[in-house]
């Protein structure tokens, strides 16, 4: 099974560890992610004002390029994303066009294209659940992640706005939990799994991000988590990177490593942990993984 893949601006650069583990795991699970031939940045944020039609042009171009790939012989008619922001922006763009056809007409006019809002956008987790099946993944697990207490961190953009994204229940999501149970992890429910990491304010207010990150990491630690998993390079960065300054400002802070869910998937499927680039993390997950006897 070949699925067109849209990497977006971060996956082939600062989030290589996310991309590589996802692509290798895909091969082991029976599908190939083929990067779409021609693509641009999705804009990394969905425009929230009515008059910002320009903000829809970027993602529309991506959706058009992806559709070309989807229509090739032997390819699935869907594009898969890893970054939760890319996923959010692309799905919301289609939704915006379905809600307001005149927006689609305007963007088509601007781009001199004829997009029909018909590119199917999926997140990698949805592909695992719906196309591969958690039961199949369970059979392929070589090393159950027994005893590893994992807190699934959804953040904002996989879940909100629920009507437009349609990924999972925004108040009681299960896709991450079920995935982690499949790998044998002990799933830790915690109060801040869909609270913001501070997002793009990383660029102008590090102190605001630190506050957000502290709240998330602290809640995960209080619930007994040993490790946090995310599906977003910016969440990973904010939650991990800020732990140094959090420690300096909060004497009660507990350090918790933050990894991509595909890194745990890779670990469970028996991939070599040396390929995971874990040393790029501020809080190194390796000692924990070793202590649990998983490497």
């Amino acid at each position: 099974m070949k699925i067109p893949y849209y990497p977006g601006c971060t996956l082939s650069t600062t989030a290589k560890a996310f991309e590589r583990t996802a692509m290798s795991a895909a091969e082991m699970l029976g599908f190939t992610m083929v990067e779409i031939e021609d693509w641009n940045c999705c804009g990394a944020s969905f425009p929230l004002t009515q008059d910002n039609i320009m903000g829809l042009a970027g993602p529309t171009n991506v959706l058009i390029d992806a559709k070309k790939e989807c229509l090739k012989e032997g390819y699935e008619d869907k594009v898969v994303t890893l970054c939760s922001v890319c996923f959010n922006v692309l799905r919301r763009t289609n939704y915006a066009f379905k809600e307001k056809k005149d927006k689609l007409d305007t963007v088509n006019f601007m781009l001199e294209k004829d997009y029909a809002a018909d590119t199917n956008v999926y997140h990698y987790l949805e592909v695992l659940r719906d196309d591969i099946g958690y039961d199949v993944i369970k059979e392929k697990v070589k090393k159950e992640l027994k005893g590893l207490k994992v807190a699934p961190y959804y953040g904002c953009f996989l879940l909100r706005p629920q009507d437009e994204v349609g990924f999972d229940d925004q108040y009681a999501p299960t896709i991450f939990e079920d995935f982690l149970s499949t790998l044998g992890c002990e799933v830790v429910d915690f109060s801040h799994k869909s609270e913001c990491c501070g997002s793009y304010s990383a660029m102008r207010s590090p102190e605001n991000v630190e506050e957000c990150a502290y709240n998330v990491v602290d809640a995960a630690a209080a619930a007994g988590a040993e490790i946090l998993v995310t599906a977003c390079p910016l969440c990973q960065f904010n939650l991990d990177e800020k732990q140094e300054s959090i420690k300096a400002h909060h004497s009660d802070a507990t350090e918790i490593p933050v990894v991509y869910f595909t890194q745990l998937l890779g670990l469970a499927l028996g991939m070599d942990v040396n390929d995971f680039k874990l040393d790029e993390n501020r809080v190194n997950p390796l000692p924990l993984i070793q202590a649990k006897g998983l490497v």
């Binding site: 944020s45 008059d51 903000g55 904002c156 909100r160 629920q162 793009y200 660029m203």
Partner: protein
Amino acid sequence: MHAHDSHEVEVDEFIENITKMSGEDFSLCYQCGKCTAGCPMADVMDFPPTLVMRYMQMGLSEELKKATSRWDCVGCLVCGSRCPKFCNPAKVMESLRLDDIKSGRRQEEIEALPVNFLKKAPQQAIVSGFRKYVP
């Protein structure tokens, strides 16, 4: 905005513009405070979402122009997801911030951005940050 316009006309223009940009019907908000209760940035905001909605209802544009909370908004969309009246304060925050930038009231200077941070940050932070804060 013309210097000779009366104060009233100016007030209307600002409120009208924000109403149009956000697409919000401010009369729906009944001030329950759920948006602010869920807002991760409410503690540091001068005008948390509930208050922004109220000032928009009342047409208090001069006060709104001076408020800075939209620069603390992280766009998490919690406010809209919790609102029992289906309002979306995040859209109002974004409209106010873009109006700050367009009208020259405030913007982020590229020179002031932390270079070391930009070197190691995910591209995604830089792209969305530029979209949100820089003209």
